[in-house]
């Protein structure tokens, strides 16, 4: 029950700072795509 209460409390939180930077550059290409038009 305690863990569900913690999750319910998150309803009040919209933004948060996540303290992790990707190792190397793996996320960069994921933000886009290469399309032929």
């Amino acid at each position: 029950m305690e863990s569900i209460k913690v999750e319910q409390a998150l309803l009040a939180v919209v933004k948060i700072q996540i303290d992790f930077s990707p190792v190397l550059f793996i996320t960069r290409s994921m933000e886009t795509y290469e399309g032929e038009y």
């Binding site: 998150l10 303290d19 990707p22 960069r28 994921m30 933000e31 290469e34 399309g35 038009y37």
Partner: protein, 325 residues
């Protein structure tokens, strides 16, 4: 980090399997880093979810599904958007191991698997100018019989295996899905966010289908190889806001896109020269002429304007040799 020898436009050959495995390891390392950080920041217990991904076997090939969820997780975490983070955690919880490791090759139309929705919506919604002047339309094919096209793909693979085994090993290692669609403007696409999937429009009636498949399958497979290299080294240091004339597309693009296009074109020139030696058809010769001129244009823009890392320089230096010109 990857050894310097991998930073080349030359097809990877035997190294394709190793590179893809290193890429999957990198994905898992990053996913666990994000999950642990989210657990701390939000004060929630997601230890079972973390354990699930700690135990995932990265020696096996992944389905595009996990790349899609990793992309959702990192995007929401980087933005710090709590509702989106919770959705991503939920989807990672729901994704079972069989689904993650469902990487046997499949040839189908689009929107047959859950992970595709985000990507299809993205390609549908972006308004990128096309040579035809048409607006992008992307639809699934309702006819269940795609055997004609599957046959074209199989024949192409058999030919590539004969004429360039080093390139064939990239196709065999990376490509887990070919997704055909009906549409306008967009011809083909790949993304690291659905790594392994190639999206391809049905060949137009005005074009030779064999040449069309060769063109776009070689093109998109080459993007996947560069996506792996770009995960380990920044390669291109130019600002995203800087735009240049592009060798293939009509819209000015950042150097990231110019480099991608030129990398791909070095392989198009190489493979089409080899295909023409094997099958000297006019349809291939016409396309090769276009690729040669586009390659020269891309190379010139890179020479003039690109700011590259040492490994980026290594790739640039290999373009002409990879193209075999």
């Amino acid at each position: 980090m990857l050894d310097n020898k991998f930073y080349t436009a030359q097809p990877a050959g035997d190294n394709a399997t190793l590179l893809y495995q290193e890429y999957r390891k990198l994905l898992l390392t990053n996913m666990l880093g994000y999950l642990r950080s989210i657990q701390t920041s939000l004060g929630i217990d997601i230890s079972l979810l973390i354990q699930k991904y700690e135990e995932l076997d990265s020696t096996q090939r992944f389905s595009p599904a996990i790349f899609n969820l990793f992309s959702k997780l990192t995007h929401s975490a980087n933005q710090g958007e709590v509702p989106a983070i919770i959705d991503a955690l939920h989807l990672l919880n729901m994704l079972d191991e069989n689904e993650i490791l469902k990487s046997e090759f499949r040839f189908s139309t689009i929107l047959t698997e859950n992970w595709e929705t985000d990507f299809v919506n993205k390609i549908r919604s972006e308004h990128i100018p096309s040579k035809s002047g048409e607006k992008t339309l992307v639809f699934p094919i309702l006819s269940p019989d795609l055997s004609l096209y599957q046959g074209l793909f199989s024949n192409l693979k058999a030919q590539l295996k004969q004429i360039d085994f080093d390139f064939y090993q990239e196709l065999e290692s990376y490509v887990t899905r070919v997704k055909l669609f009906n549409g306008k403007a967009l011809k083909a696409a790949t993304s690291a966010s659905v790594f392994g999937a190639i999206y391809l429009k049905l060949p137009p009636e005005t074009e030779n289908s064999e040449a069309y498949f060769a063109d776009h399958i070689i093109h998109e497979t080459s993007h996947l190889h560069l996506d792996i290299l770009l995960a380990f080294d920044k390669i291109i240091l130019n600002q995203e806001a800087e735009k240049f004339q592009a060798p293939i597309r009509i819209d000015p693009r950042p150097m990231f896109g110019i480099f991608h296009a030129t990398f791909v074109l070095s392989r198009m020139v190489r493979l089409f020269q080899r295909i023409i030696k094997d099958t000297p058809k006019q349809e291939y010769i016409d396309r090769l002429d276009t690729f040669r001129s586009q390659f020269d244009q891309g190379l010139e823009t890179i020479e003039k304007h690109a700011v590259l890392t040492e490994n980026g320089q290594r790739i640039k230096s290999s373009f002409v040799q990879a193209a075999e010109i």
